[in-house]
């Protein structure tokens, strides 16, 4: 007679084998669920790195503009000016470093390059725009620059202005030979960049009613009113030369910043003391090495901080 106690053993062993197999499957499925869950927690760190680089660029440009505009120490050489810049830059990076550390990022930004520039300035409002020697047509910047900006002109006496073709004209060109011209005549400010001539008027009225007015080329305003399309050297590459034509037909002040060291700008005899056109040390721009790191990301890049270069 069969032993009834033995008949279920095969089924029991089979059941045990299947149970072990299903437990293994559960472990595999568990790892899949874990992987998919982790995937949904991923954070994008690129936006923080990119925004930090943009912040450093903007902060450095602000320091450059401040140091150039508010030189209370009136440095005569670049050493003091660069010290002022380094102090400001250290403040900017110090604030960024503390802010980023609180979020788990480490930054180490450094100044890599500094572009020494010069202010080309005339502050004597009773003088025309000739050079120190009184030469009629002259070049404040002689084909050796790599950029210029911040042009503004103050016409002190409108009665000195003359109509074209003898109107006072500033023309600039880049290394490719592209040119941009600004002419100031009685009652008109015109721009010729190879396209349609742009005319700026004081709110549509005649500029000749004003005895004096500002032409802030970089800001795009004439007599305090916006002139759409007035943009210093628009669509040109880095400005290489700046020329004055008919400088005797205007009286007032002017200034602009050029990317060339003081002493290398213009020709000998063009500049002198503050009674006529003169030069002053300035910082044209800088290159900053941005270093942004966190546990899973390392991002290092050089950022050019030149005010107005990227302002469209």
């Amino acid at each position: 007679m069969a032993d009834l106690d033995d008949r279920a053993q095969i089924l029991l062993i089979t059941g045990f084998a299947l149970a072990v197999t299903f437990v293994g499957l559960a472990l595999i499925l568990n790892s899949v669920i874990y992987t998919e869950n982790l995937a949904t927690r991923s954070e994008s760190t690129t936006s923080q790195a990119i925004s930090h680089a943009r912040d450093v660029e903007a902060g450095t440009e602000a320091v450059i503009e401040y140091v150039n505009e508010f030189n209370t120490s009136e440095p005569t050489d670049y050493v003091d000016l660069i010290d002022d810049f380094d102090d400001g830059f250290a403040t900017v990076t110090g604030v960024s470093r503390r802010h980023q550390l609180s979020d788990g990022q480490v930054i180490d930004d450094e100044r890599a390059t500094l572009y020494r520039g010069s202010w080309i300035t005339q502050t004597n409002a009773s003088r025309d725009f000739t050079n120190v020697s009184g030469t009629s047509d002259w070049s404040p910047v002689n084909n050796n620059s790599d950029g210029a900006r911040n042009l503004r002109i103050f016409v002190n006496d409108s009665s000195t202005l003359v109509d074209a073709p003898n109107a006072f004209t500033i023309d600039v060109n880049d290394t490719a030979g592209n040119t941009w011209e600004l002419s100031i005549g009685p009652g008109n400010v015109t721009v010729d960049d190879g396209g349609p001539t742009l005319k700026c008027n004081d709110d549509g009225s005649d500029l000749s009613t004003l005895s004096s007015f500002w032409v802030n080329v970089s800001q795009g305003t004439v007599a305090g009113h916006e002139c759409p399309g007035l943009d210093f050297a628009a669509d040109l590459g880095p400005i290489q030369a700046v020329n004055f034509s008919n400088p005797g037909n205007i009286e007032g002040t002017y200034r602009f910043l050029v990317n060339k060291s003081e002493g290398e700008v213009g020709t000998t005899g063009d500049y002198g003391d503050t009674s006529g056109p003169f030069t002053k040390v300035a910082i044209f721009g800088a290159v900053v090495e941005v270093d942004f790191e966190r546990a899973e990301l390392v991002y290092r890049t050089d950022v050019r901080a030149i005010p107005e270069e990227n302002d469209d």
């Binding site: 007679m1 069969a2 008949r7 095969i10 089924l11 089979t14 084998a17 299947l18 197999t21 299903f22 293994g24 499957l25 595999i28 499925l29 790892s31 899949v32 992987t35 998919e36 995937a39 991923s42 994008s44 760190t45 690129t46 790195a49 990119i50 680089a53 546990a295 899973e296 990301l297 390392v298 991002y299 290092r300 890049t301 050089d302 950022v303 050019r304």
Partner: protein, 151 residues
Amino acid sequence: MTEDRGQAITFEYTMGIGIAVVLVTGLLIAGGGFISDQRSSAGRAELQVIGQQIAADVEAADRLIASTKDADPTVQIRRRLPRDVAGGHYQIELVEAADPYISLASTDPDLTVSVDFVNHTAVRESSIAGGPVLIEYTSGGRLTIEPGDPS
């Protein structure tokens, strides 16, 4: 009566064993097949997830490179990935083509998964084993994947 039962018992025992064997074999074959299918499905899902994570990191590196005018920035992105998928090792390959993509292949189970991504920066053909990965922008101006730091 006892003589009849002796013959019936043998036949019954044989029948019982035969039926049990058929039943057990059928259960094991069905269960094994089910396990194998589920393992392949789980492995494919996990490779898809891993591939999407790597693609996201490659696109993130691409964005960082595109955001700067510097011709030679340093960009490194690390990602800790599992070394095994569904109990088997796998290979990650960054395929250099007109339309680059990431290919993940495991041998056990035998699976291959492709994941597309959008890029502006060129990529360099590279292949590594599954595990920690490093996506790097090389001095040759290309994105590549390399084995990451195991620590």
